[in-house]
Amino acid sequence: MINLANNLLFAAEGGTEVSFPVLTSLIVIPFLGAIGVALVPKGRVEVHRLVALMASVVTGAMSVWVLLNFDRNDGGFQFRNPDPNVWIESLGIRWDLAVDGISLFLVVLTGFLFPLAIVGVKPEHSPKNYYAWIILLEAGVMGVFMTLDLFFFFVFFEVVLVPMYFLIGSWGHGNRIYAATKFFIFTMFGSALMLVGILAIVFLHEDATGIVTFDVVALAEGQNWGDTVGRWVFLSFVLAFSVKVPVFPVHTWLPDAHTEAPTAGSVILAGVMLKLGTYGFFRYGLYLFPEAATWFAPVLMILGTIGILYGAAAATMQKDLKRLVAYSSVAHLGFIVLGTFAITTESLTGSVSQMVNHGLSTGALFFLVGWMYERTKTRQISELGGIQKSAPLFAGFFTLVMLSSVGLPGLNGFVGEFLILLGAFVANPWIASVAATGVIFAAVYLLWAYQRVFHGKPRGEHTDMEELRPSELMVLMPMVVLIVFLGVYPKPMLERIEPSIEVLVAHIDENVDDWTEPTADVLIAEDSHDDEEGEEGGEGEE
């Protein structure tokens, strides 16, 4: 058993000439960190913080190392161990980690956000458990993004619920227990049927090939299940991811969870945990079920669009600032869903980058809102006002982040949204045109909120709100730098994402007979019968 453990922890992942199991350590280090925190006696608050912070920082550094050593021309999986360690012999479950262009930046984002979340806010009570949970959460999230084994995907997908449940449940505000339970049960319910789905395809694969394996690559290449089964199982996956993302109409856990969660909780929830769902759509939707995905694509595009408009509309009228931001997440993730199921290289690339961008901008927004709450002890928009007078710097940062979330060109938020809509337009001009109105609404609810909170005469007893503290500035700065950088020069990110997207699209193309990627076709035509085709710009999947 010991040597098994050793194998698990320290075997080489191979891939690029690494002998050290980087990816495994991305999961193990936070895990050990959590144990470390648990072992430190209760009194030593600073030590808990330090241990958690160090673990997360090391993890972050290693994720950056992965980013730097990532081969940008290779669209396949990298850092993968050629023969992964077997976990459960009888079911062919293996500890099999890898990253590709799709997961890479999510891993980095995770490694980036957690240290900030730990530095950014101190818990109100019992810091020991707090830090233990939060750092444990990081391990889980990392696992989801990196594993290629359906079993472990499900495992991590489920296990992340627990730390988040406790973070919300015991460090949250208001009726936190309701929110936490709702979050837990709702999400678990969503993924319940997915497990059956996973097993179904695994065993159908076994029946066809005689090999029982949870290796997503093998399964995806094999496609050893009929279209009908594929579609049903796909639906079970979609349910799971839709709840996580969340997609309308299964989004209602999100406002409660985000609002009641402690600041760090909201940051991580919005920053990385929602991405578990969207990432799932990529790896376990499009890649695993190309046929079903293309078959359901229009429905999901429409759901995404509804999400965009619905989220915006709901956000506009919120009275609670944090809740407003939460609903804005619904809208933003609507974009990602739309882009995912438009299934064009542009929109897919856009979706992936949008995952990262949303993580940054909404994360930053939640930080700011959280700090504002710390200072004023209220989140009610009506009780705030004129803050820009007393805290111009605070307001300035808020403005920048807000504009990034509104999708102002030159800031990161724009690039993703634009590519998504562009690709979606190629796939289906009408849906895309409707979805594009989302950018208007985004401006409406955010600017209106900003006006009421920061502009006008200082209102209420919060006329002299404290300015940003240096520590908070330290947390915000890296995010802001990235927000600007990724807006001005997104190429480094896009060019690492794209190869994998091309591989994915090719995979879909060869596995779905009557489907070809919708492409921008040049309209060289004077007479009007080509016009329709011109307008519809190639709705391949319809």
Binding site: A313, M317, L422, S433, H455, K457, E526, G534
Partner: protein, 774 residues
Amino acid sequence: MINFVYLIPLFPLLGCVTLMLVGKKMGEPSAGYFATAASGLSFIATVVTFFGLRALDVEERQVTKTLFEWVPAGNFSANAGFLVDPLSVAMLLFITGIGTLIHLYSVGYMHGDENFSKFFLYLNMFIFAMSILVLGDNLLLTFLGWEGVGACSYFLVSFWFSEEKNAMAGKKAFITNRVGDWGFMVATFLAFASIGSIDYLTINGTAAQLSTPVLAAMVLLLFVGVMGKSAQFPLYLWLPDAMAGPTPVSALIHAATMVTSGVYLLTRVNGLVYEALLHAQWVTNIIAWVGVGTAFFAATIAIAQTDIKKVLAYSTVSQLGYMVLAVGSGVFVAAIFHMITHAFFKALLFLGSGSVIHGMDNDQDMRRYGGLRKLLPITSATFIIGWLAIAGVPPFAGFWSKDEILLSAWELGGINGKLLWFFGLITALMTGFYMSRQVFLTFYGDYRFGDPDKDEVDQAWDGYIAHAEAEKDEAITAREAAATKLEEANVAVESRNVAFAKAQMEVTQTTSEDDLAKAQKALDTASGALEKAEAGVVSAQDELTAASALVDVKDQAVSSVKSEAARRVEPEPGEQRTAGAASDFLPDAVAKRAEHHPHESGWQMATPLVILAFLSIVGGVIQLPFTSEVHFLENWLEPALTFEHKFASSAGTKVALAVVAIIAGAVGIMAAVSVYLRNQGDPAKIEKQILFDGWGYDRAVTAFMGGPGAKMFDAITWLDANIVDGMVNGTGSLVRGTGSTVRRFQNGLVRSYAMSITLGSIGLLVWFVVRIAA
């Protein structure tokens, strides 16, 4: 030398970043001068680039300078690349030029503002964004600048954010523009989906191959964007509100540069528009009509405005309408020409108004101005030049450009063209009128800043009446007092009488001597008292009469004051509407104004005025209509335009049209002269409330947003909280309900348990029996 183009955006960017970091430290005024320098340098860079471009021969005057690949994805790619061609350079020349002037002006204007350096930070940021907008070699990069300037305008309009109104205006500007941006974005998508590229050169190159609907769609979508930025109907309504920003902002962003970028965009893709003109004229007609419609519509509103900046705002909308009309009739040169001249004189006018406002203690109500000619010599002189220019008086700049636009409309031919021309002409007439009105109200007539205006007079009279009535009430109370006093007196008499009678009885009934004497004495005292009391009654009587008399007097006073007030407030024709006797009751503001002494602004503000005035005079020379040699602008722009437009009309027609235009302008001015200078005819007849309210359009939109719009959003919010989430919680309680139902069967009785076992086994047996049967 072309490479200098990189410096154009670089300088303002550096300036902006520097101010961001150390602006506060620099403080006033050095931060301002620093920013001015940044903008000035980029102007110089532009000039250099201009000459660099001149140096090339005509065919090569379209150079693309790529910085880096900005957004690559799949088949899509957008560069951060600059398209240096006559068009962009021409734009940049006046943007950076005027920009610099306005920077300088602002140093004076923003004097003493607590966020002095922040203001210049934004100005530099704006110049940067604007230059990106102009230089971008593809739709996306232009869009970057497009939204960038939008953001800057948002910051600057709500610069004095403590005023709810300013904040509101800034938000309104941004959001309304966003509506337009939607069109821009979708147009970009369509361009990519149909052409596969969004570079201007490619677009203009392949425009001819596009199928008509796509072409039409693309142009119209872009035009939606233009409606937003260039404040065309129906999206214009953010611009008047945007005047909430500091005046230099209005001059730079909301008059000279940003708002014209819509027209610039259409010129940038003139290939498309031209194709539309050829194959889908209904599209260009829409553009032309929206243009002229806006021009006309805005002009009517401008007539009735009382806020000096509002007038200019609506006039800007109207002038933009002209440019759009020009684009719609396919004469881009005319559009650009008017854009440039307009930039000159409208910037001038705004800065002038700023100077006035500055001089008049931030009071923007023209009705209170008057006779400032002497008090603000430079301002007034330059302002008047600007007025002549916009009013289309030859040889000022505005005349030439406007004339060319009208001509191009005319040349569209057919009734359509004639109508466009006609409305253009009427607009010209109205322009002449309202601008003259503004000038006369502001600079001519006698100085009446100290005079109370309508409302204040009303207030005064109300105050007076109130005062009179107060006095009357006083008198009445006095009368009451007197009356009561009389009552008391009478009562006293009564009692005394009784006492006297008693005393008399005593006297008659006494027998013994000394008793009699005592009684006698008592009787005397009693009678004395009685007399005193009666005297009291008499005096009280007199008091009462006096009091009631006073009441009558006061009553008369009140009624007289009332009638007086009535007469003053609705004066007979000829009679002035003044506070008259009520002057003491005027609000303090009036007095404050009366004490105020207008002052001319410092050199930082004066210099730009003078320069711009000069440009407004001679601006026309860049495109003189006489011979093609003097079509400097046209010849210069020619490489940027995919086709060459030549006016077909004979010299005769041109002259005729020009004359008609001049006459129209003259008529407008004359009308104004008679009304506002000679006071013949009542202004109120012209300045209708509905015009003042801009035909109530703005209010209607706001009402809709606040009413049904908000209701709909509320409805969705309610739906989310109750229906969608309700289903979730419903499921939860359903589960619990089932649980407690099931629980009830567990009743603790062993026999019922046994029963359940038996039933279970029977069930199983039945099942297996069925198996056998099957």
